[in-house]
């Protein structure tokens, strides 16, 4: 069953390469996405099929990430169909193929229980998503792709070194070194401490680069800023979740081997540092897509903070993965629409989005309110749970700093978002005559509304199966078998 998850999307990617017509090809995306989500729901309902081989096991963490990314991919693919219909001036052969390949590799990441295989899958996602950034074929997007590739590959190489260190730490007296998660977890107390800590740091820096934690976040504003909104959504929702899943494996091993205290101090520092850097760079940001990138850096910081706090905040952290992925996707898609309509990303030319794009503009504003943790929406529940965890763990200073950074980020983001959405479009905007005529089509607006409904639902009432999935993921993370 695991192989189906991996090879079905790659098969569809090949099919996409084969389809000649530029107009029909985008429709393969929604078809593949719906089948993939159907398979995910089917596999979640059938626990017996969730163990294909010692290498490919779908544990509770994998299930959550698989569900989140596949749902996000479904919404994005519907948006992609509408978006590519509008962008017919460029061939989207490579675009669709890479998207579907990413879906397959994400499946591999979710299923793999061998850290080496996990590394290969993550490296492959990096390489597959590189052409996606380059879709606009402008000088700036080449530069963004180059930086993404360079910094990403350096990070991933460090992660490989970390994986080798981890394997080496399991090479105790006469025991065979192995990278299988079960064996590492069962033999965890016997791992040699020095190598394990070095491995944890290397993997933190390596997968941190993939997630976009500060100070390794420098590629993120360029990559998210220059790629189309759709790709930003896939990145912010999907790629970061996969990298976070990979890091969760490492955290599990670390916690199992009794290095919890060392790990949490490091994670708290990285989390707060990322939120601070995000807040710093978001104040006075002129380009609303780069602002969304920094908001993604901030949310990676919040995830790390949640992990650092430890057991009481794990439920909130995992819930935050789901809610922030959905809200991020919503924000990026609506930002993409606004960018298309105004043909510019800087707040000097963009204004009054609510008037020109009623659905995208108002949902962009609602998304902003959601991502900064206002109550009726999903991220509020998860951030509040993390805050409660921080208090329960007795870390008052961390909680205080957490709230302070949330406020700084809110002010920075609010200034840009309000300039974009409210008011009248500034005079500098192209007069309606050569206005790009881009309006909220059904395909480009429906996914945003659906995502908004999902975020609102998560805020008001978390459905029982999802709640169950998250709580046993938290238990699994806290005390693995």
């Amino acid at each position: 069953m695991a192989l189906v998850f991996v090879f079905f999307p790659i098969l569809m990617a090949a099919l996409a390469l084969a389809i000649p017509s530029n107009r029909a090809r985008p429709w393969i995306l929604p078809i593949a996405a719906t089948t993939h989500t159907g398979m995910t729901v089917f596999i979640l309902a059938r626990p017996d099929l969730q163990r294909f081989s010692p290498w490919l096991v779908l544990d509770p963490l994998g299930r959550i990430i698989l569900l989140v990314v596949s749902a996000l991919f479904l919404f994005c693919s519907v948006y992609a169909a509408g978006y590519l219909k509008y962008r017919q001036e460029r061939s989207n052969r490579l675009f669709c193929a890479c998207l579907l390949a990413f879906l397959g590799l994400m499946g591999l990441v979710a299923w793999s229980h061998h850290l080496g295989l996990l590394w290969v899958a993550i490296e492959a996602t990096t390489l597959v998503t590189a052409p996606l950034i380059y879709f606009n074929r402008t000088a700036r997007s080449i530069e963004a792709t180059w930086k993404y590739l360079l910094v990403g590959s350096v990070g991933i190489a460090l992660a490989l070194l970390g994986t080798f260190f981890l394997a080496y730490s399991s090479m105790g007296e006469g025991r065979q070194p192995s990278l299988l998660l079960e064996e590492l977890l069962s033999g965890a107390p016997a791992l040699s401490k020095g190598w394990l800590r070095a491995a944890f740091i290397l993997l933190l820096v390596g997968y941190g680069t993939k997630m976009g934690l500060a100070p390794m976040h420098t590629w993120k504003p360029d990559a998210y800023g220059e790629s189309p909104g759709l790709i930003g959504a896939i990145f912010a929702g999907g790629v970061t979740s996969c990298a976070f899943l990979a890091f969760l494996r490492v955290y599990q091993i670390c916690a199992a081997s009794g290095e919890g205290v060392f790990a949490s101090r490091l994670l708290l520092f990285m989390g707060l540092f990322s939120m601070a850097v995000a807040g710093l760079f978001m104040a006075g940001q002129r380009d609303f897509k780069r602002m969304l990138a920094y908001s993604s850096v901030e949310h990676m910081g919040i995830l790390m903070l949640g992990l650092g706090i430890g057991e009481p905040a794990l439920y909130g952290t995992i819930l935050h993965v789901a809610t922030s992925a959905a809200t991020k996707g919503l924000l990026f898609l609506s930002a993409g629409n606004i960018h298309r309509a105004y043909a510019s990303k800087s707040t000097d030319q963009v204004g009054g989005a609510i008037r020109r794009l009623p659905i995208s503009g108002s949902l962009f504003l609602a998304g902003f309110l959601a991502i900064t943790g206002s109550p009726p929406f999903g991220p509020f529940i998860s951030e509040f749970a993390i805050l409660n965890g921080a208090f329960a763990a007795g870390r008052f200073l961390v909680a205080g700093l957490f709230l302070a950074f949330l406020l700084v980020v809110f002010i920075g983001m609010g200034r840009t978002v309000l300039k974009v959405t409210l008011g009248r479009s500034p005079a500098a905007v192209p007069s309606p005559a050569e206005d790009s005529g881009y309006r909220d089509g059904f395909l480009t607006a429906a996914p945003i509304v659906a995502l908004m409904a999902l975020v609102l639902l998560l805020g008001l009432y978390i459905p029982a199966p999802l709640g169950g999935l998250i709580s046993d993921a938290a238990k699994y993370l806290g005390a693995p078998i």
Binding site: L117, E123, S153, F164, P177
Partner: protein, 213 residues
């Protein structure tokens, strides 16, 4: 067997310093190709008995690192018709000195690390750390896009050396995956370098600074 391994590793270290020292890009690529081939052959020396998977892995590593990757780089270089000079951020001599310093630091550090079993009394750990550091050095001090790719390759080789210690832990599939990823990675980097050259009419990454705060 052990001293042959050490000899190969010493050659790898020397090649590192050469890579730092040459001023022409073609030469750097050839040096890295030789280094890759040597590393590919390393597992044959490590194992006392020759099993099929180990041999296959070695052949693939030599083939890939020694021949495939350098040829991609050469082709990217030829298309770009750029002048073959390497303009490093800091001159050639200081980079060699820094390289030597890195190797010394690696030796010092690996002395401190408590290595678990006898087989690793050889030079593997210091060699891998120093190659990784040299890779970083190349990445951060060279401006041309291809040169940065070469730096990434050297970093990859460094990590590959460390992989030698854990031959049993990494099954063949994963080995192949890593090599495949390396190949595709270099391939994509080469294409992007090509596009940079067409867009900016030069391989110099100093022109890639328009995206900033």
């Amino acid at each position: 067997m052990l001293d042959l391994l050490n000899a190969v590793l010493v050659v790898v270290l020397v090649l590192n310093l050469f890579a730092l020292g040459t001023s022409r890009i073609l030469a750097v690529i050839r040096i890295v190709a030789v280094q890759g081939a040597l590393l590919g052959a390393l597992p044959l020396l490590m194992h006392d008995r020759l099993t099929l998977p180990v041999a296959a892995a070695a052949v693939a590593a030599v083939g890939l690192k020694g021949i495939a990757v350098p040829s991609i780089m050469m082709r990217a270089l030829r298309d770009a018709q750029i002048k073959r000079e390497v303009e490093p951020l800091i001159g050639l001599l200081p980079s060699i000195v820094l390289g030597a310093l890195a190797t010394g630091l690696a030796l010092l550090v690996s002395g401190q690390l408590q290595l678990s079993d006898s087989r690793t009394s050889t030079l593997i750990v210091p060699a891998s750390i120093s190659t990784a550091l040299v890779g970083f050095l190349l990445l951060t001090t060279r401006y041309t896009a291809i040169n940065q790719a070469v730096g990434y390759l050297v970093l990859e080789n460094g990590i590959f050396i460390f992989g030698m210690l854990l031959v049993e832990a990494i099954p063949l599939v994963v080995e192949m995956g890593i090599l495949l990823d390396l190949l595709v990675g270099v391939f994509v980097i080469a294409i992007i370098a090509n596009h940079i050259n067409r867009a900016f009419s030069s391989m110099d990454t100093r022109r890639l600074v328009s995206l900033k705060e």
